[in-house]
Symmetry: C2
């Protein structure tokens, strides 16, 4: 690579790009860890993108109509931090960059959206950024159709590396973007031919351009170090009819002795290497030192969008009061105004009619009431619409000819769906929910984890939540999934028992601003377990006394979802034998754990045999039982110890011993 | 679709194919559930494949050199069961088909490899079968190179649907197959244009042929209902240089009123529809009735390979005794002969040198000893070779020019890697292991679950197993992963504390025949905690007393992996203050749970304060503590309650309070 000619041909550009490169070298050296090669390789592309194309205002990084920039190759985080510092984001003074990868800094090892307004997304797990960018672009299309181009009208740019493109989720995202003709989405591929293990050719010989074209993308190419060529390619990509894929030929760790090698991917911390590289750049300044002309040029870029932002604010102010209030409510993530009253109505009707329905159908009943009064919802399913009961009649289908549609046919793409929903939620203005079978939560788990980590209130509608789904067998029967989802920090896992609990769970989920929710819903019909109406949301306490013991309380049965019915029947039998039995419904362990000790003790007082009942593994329940040796055989669990099997649901419950009879027998054995 | 012309042009073929179709209709009707459309649509392709190409012997379905057939679109399981019954597999009399989807039947809703020898793989979670087929084909290449074409020399066929191709894992598999030029792999795409939600075009407009070609596949097409055209395409595909993709244009639910609709995907149980469809087929026989000429024709197909099998057995018998014994050991999955002695040597050296190494490096030390004496191992990593320490010098790299290589550069494809390893393990003759960062266990979780469900002893090398990885931050720091993996049935999760425990964990993992293992390994260096050598494998007990209290035992500290060091230091401090403290190392909860009560009670006796220490979430540990209210504050947990952060590891341990000091303080507080 002839660096000197680059320097000579475009000296102003070169200096701006080298500011990124040298900040990267300096920060990685200071941290003694990190990834140098990617920002060094993509500095030219990023510089042209920010200088000539990105519409943003560094002083107002959360302006709703800004262009979005996603660094899918998140390990190259110094690219983002350099851009934020150089353009003048007030959260990124040079001290932040000097603290790269240190405790408390905004400059974490990988970009974390919750640490600074200017960081659009958390990235690092490869492929996620690209897939979230698809969601951001879908959100833009949806919101532009709803609010008009005066209010929402922007591009989504994404830099992706070979790792992003090799991860399977990328294919799901590519397919989704192609199908929806997301012409405002521009993916810039850092085509450097290098991965951690060596050359890309060690593990792949995919023609990426042909692959993207096969899914309906428009494909462009450029020399990723020639600013004129980069500008030409991005300009063309912006005018494309489909989503645009720009293959940028680059050199990883440009200009260093590690250029074009896998060593260049990692942390370049050798002092001589750094000095030599800076010399090759013609960079004579000290560590973390940006000459004022270069900084000023970058700050001019950072303020280039200020006028556009102000004009946008005027347009927003010109909306009717009602419209503006709605915009602000939906973009802030505040609870929809009529949510509480709507849920109350559903509950009242449920108390009157006591419908025996599957909770997946209960969820649909709730959505039928909620979707009309919460127009920020955007529903969907990974090709299980009729099974997940996620589509209500009012939504309409989102596609290129109906951008106002609020339902997405995601295809058989759980992972792409979840990642896209993350992107939509990050965008603001939308509250996405999406369905699949609970067993396939595994397929989208990396994106579900990002919902939790990024603090985005996506709602996962996971139906067919146990062996209760029956004949499809163990590949489709969740057993460990409730435990594995409950293990995740910042995640609410709801397993409601009937329509009333389902309505309450939805109310809580739709009220979250920083926590995603899982709704675990049954395939099979369940009786109404809450007989009398109360305005209070009992699910919000996580667990509550559903039926009290009539005599002396000897047994407490704790259950969730479809097994609350089992507990109630077991209680009836025990009470008939004079054994006082309380039934506790526990639709949300996380919310119960968050209650104060007094309440928890009131619901689960000592002195009685406790049995938990759930058609899943025991893990997670021990916390609410008495511990293996704590009370010498005073606790029990009725549930699964291994995988399920293929047979009708009733037979499975019998064979696996999740029955009122088994519960009664266990209670009596424990009572001795 | 003009069925009558098909009937007339190829009457013998038609009858054979209709036997599959009508058995499907009858079984689905009897079960009142299932998926009719796929077997009805692909019956012609399957018939030609079995009649003209598949080398197999229905009476010996586990013959090691048979062609493999994988139904990736597993919901169409009646295709497999029909073929097994028709060709004369003794495990599939007609009664099995009549019991479709019933308790105890081999004919589960989706194919389950563990229910019958003739079922190659468990499928149903879409995309997995295709990806396992890639692993099967890699195994064939590897074993053919090792044993010669006289012993291993076969094709792998796979039927995949649109769902398989939309799932992201398919892209990882396609890329892997293309890179490795798996010319013996033939994927037959059921190109019917229909998914559950409707037309494929609702959610995708990918040109699949172009997509496969972009990754180096040879692409073919055929009319999936014309036996001559199917035969031509498969014949051409067998002669391809790369992996072959055959796009078979088909009609889902052929000949029924649900043909070409999403209704046809599911269970066609309407009596009139079934009668009309059979009439259209010209099929006049009763339910589950196959006319004898048709059955005989199918049985002739089933025995066509018997001669080839016998000839193969003669060739195997002609091998030297030593070679044959090795073949039998490696294909049966028996423990490598010298494994025990080799592990013992590693442990002896560890006891002598007490090396302070990361357990990922310890794992490499073990592999350096084991790989030469266990040549059935096939290692790899998802582009983290240098970090996972999975590659030893003796292995060589598996690729198209060195099929004898025993190390696979899987690329950034955790999911494809895990699924491919499942395929290799199913093939027999190989014991695959593969590495990634533990956090990215999420990316391959659907395939990890299948390892457990299918009873295949794949070994997952998950390094960087906690916040101990430091600066990369929360996206790379597992927190809930140990719990979520331990929640999975039939899975051994090992978290060894030093080289000795790592060696013992590897010994157990490599001795499994029906259970996969996870090795959770540290990035950071750890001191040797086992000071004296013993031949006995202590990890096999799951947990054991590592250090006993010197005085009266007041505290028991239980820890795993890197936190055993924390426990030992805390013990030292507590003992110094006269507080007798036992340290229990618990490298494998599942194995400890499997011990008898007496042993468990010996290790964790009542009467002392118990504290568990692990740099992950508490879930799973409550079982070994005393329960929330069991002993009124006599238990504690030192670990994580939320996501990690980006900073040097030592700082993180301090900030999150996972330290000897915090442990001492908690112990004292609990002692009161």
């Amino acid at each position: 690579m002839d660096i000197s000619s680059l320097r000579q041909q475009h000296p102003d550009h070169w200096k701006k790009a080298c500011a990124i490169r040298t900040l990267t070298l300096d920060a990685v050296a200071a941290a003694n860890s990190g990834h140098s090669g990617m920002p060094m390789g993509m500095a030219d592309v990023a510089t042209v993108l920010y200088e000539k194309h990105m519409v943003f205002d560094a002083k107002a990084p959360d302006w709703p109509n800004r262009d979005r920039f996603v660094l899918s190759a998140g390990h190259g985080s110094m690219l983002v931090y350099s851009l934020l510092h150089l353009t003048g984001d007030p959260e990124f003074p040079i001290e932040e960059l000097k603290n790269f990868r240190q405790w408390g800094a905004r400059t974490a090892g990988h970009p974390e959206n919750f640490l600074a307004k200017g960081i659009e997304t958390t990235t690092g797990p490869l492929g996620q950024g690209l897939s979230m960018a698809v969601g951001l672009a879908m959100a833009e299309e949806s919101l532009r159709a709803r609010w008009g181009a005066k209010i929402i009208d922007h591009y989504t740019y994404c830099i992706a590396g070979d790792g992003c493109l090799m991860e399977g989720v990328s294919q799901e995202a590519i397919g989704l973007a192609g199908r929806h003709e997301l012409s405002r989405l521009i993916v810039l591929w850092d085509n450097n031919g290098i991965t951690i293990d060596g050359k890309v050719s060690l593990s792949d010989r995919t023609d990426q351009k042909a692959r993207f074209a096969a899914s309906g993308w428009d494909v462009f190419e450029c020399d990723g170090h020639d600013p004129v060529d980069i500008d030409r390619a991005i300009t063309a990509a912006k005018a494309s009819k489909g989503p645009a894929f720009v293959a940028c030929t680059t050199h990883i760790a440009l200009g260093s002795s590690a250029q074009d090698t896998s060593k260049g991917h990692g942390a370049l911390t050798d002092a001589k290497l750094i000095a030599d590289t800076k010399a090759a750049y013609g960079w004579t300044h000290g560590a973390f030192e940006i000459p004022s002309d270069v900084k000023q040029a970058w700050e001019a870029i950072g303020s280039r969008g200020a006028e556009a932002r102000k004009a946008w604010e005027d347009r927003l102010a010109a909306l009717s009061d009602a419209k503006r209030a709605l915009f602000e409510q939906q973009f802030s993530g505040d609870v929809p105004k009529k949510l509480s009253a709507t849920i109350r109505n559903v509950k009242k009707q449920a108390a009157e009619t006591a419908p025996k329905v599957a909770t997946r159908r209960a969820s649909e009943i709730v959505l039928e009431a909620v979707n009309p009064i919460a127009t920020e919802t955007l529903g969907g399913s990974a090709d299980l619409t009729g099974s997940n009961n996620t589509k209500t009649a009012d939504l309409g289908v989102f596609d290129p000819i109906n951008r106002k549609g609020r339902y997405v046919y995601y295809g058989i793409r759980e992972h792409g769906m979840a990642a896209a929903m993350n992107g939509m939620a990050l965008h603001g203005g939308l509250r996405p929910y999406g369905g699949t079978f609970m067993c396939f939560a595994d397929y989208c788990r990396p994106a579900v984890r990002l919902s939790a980590l990024m603090h985005v209130p996506v709602v996962y509608v996971f139906t067919h939540d146990s062996i209760g789904l029956g004949e499809d067998g163990p590949t489709h029967q969740p057993v460990e999934h409730l435990a594995s989802l409950r293990a995740m920090p910042n995640m609410l896992v709801f397993r409601p028992a009937d329509l009333t609990e389902t309505a309450e769970a939805w109310e809580i989920a739709l009220s979250q601003k920083a926590t995603p929710s899982v709704l675990a819903l049954s395939r099979q019909n369940l009786p109404a377990v809450r007989k009398t109406h109360t305005n209070k949301n009992l699910v919000a306490q996580g667990a509550y006394v559903l039926e009290e013991a009539t005599g002396k309380r000897q047994v407490i049965l704790i259950a969730s979802g479809s097994e609350v019915e089992v507990a109630l029947k077991a209680r009836e039998a025990l009470e008939a034998e004079g054994i006082g039995t309380r039934v506790v419904s526990m639709p949300c362990m996380e919310l119960f754990a968050a209650q104060d000790e007094a309440y928890r003790r009131k619901v689960l007082p000592p002195g009685a045999v406790r049995i938990a009942i759930e058609a899943g593994v025991r893990m997670g329940w021990d916390r609410w039982l008495l511990g293996e040796r704590g009370r010498e055989g005073k606790d029990g669990f009725i549930g699964m110890t291994g995988f399920g099997a293929s047979a009708p649901a009733e037979r499975l419950y019998q064979e696996f011993g999740i029955t009122p009879e088994a519960t009664v027998a266990k209670a009596k054995a424990l009572l001795g």
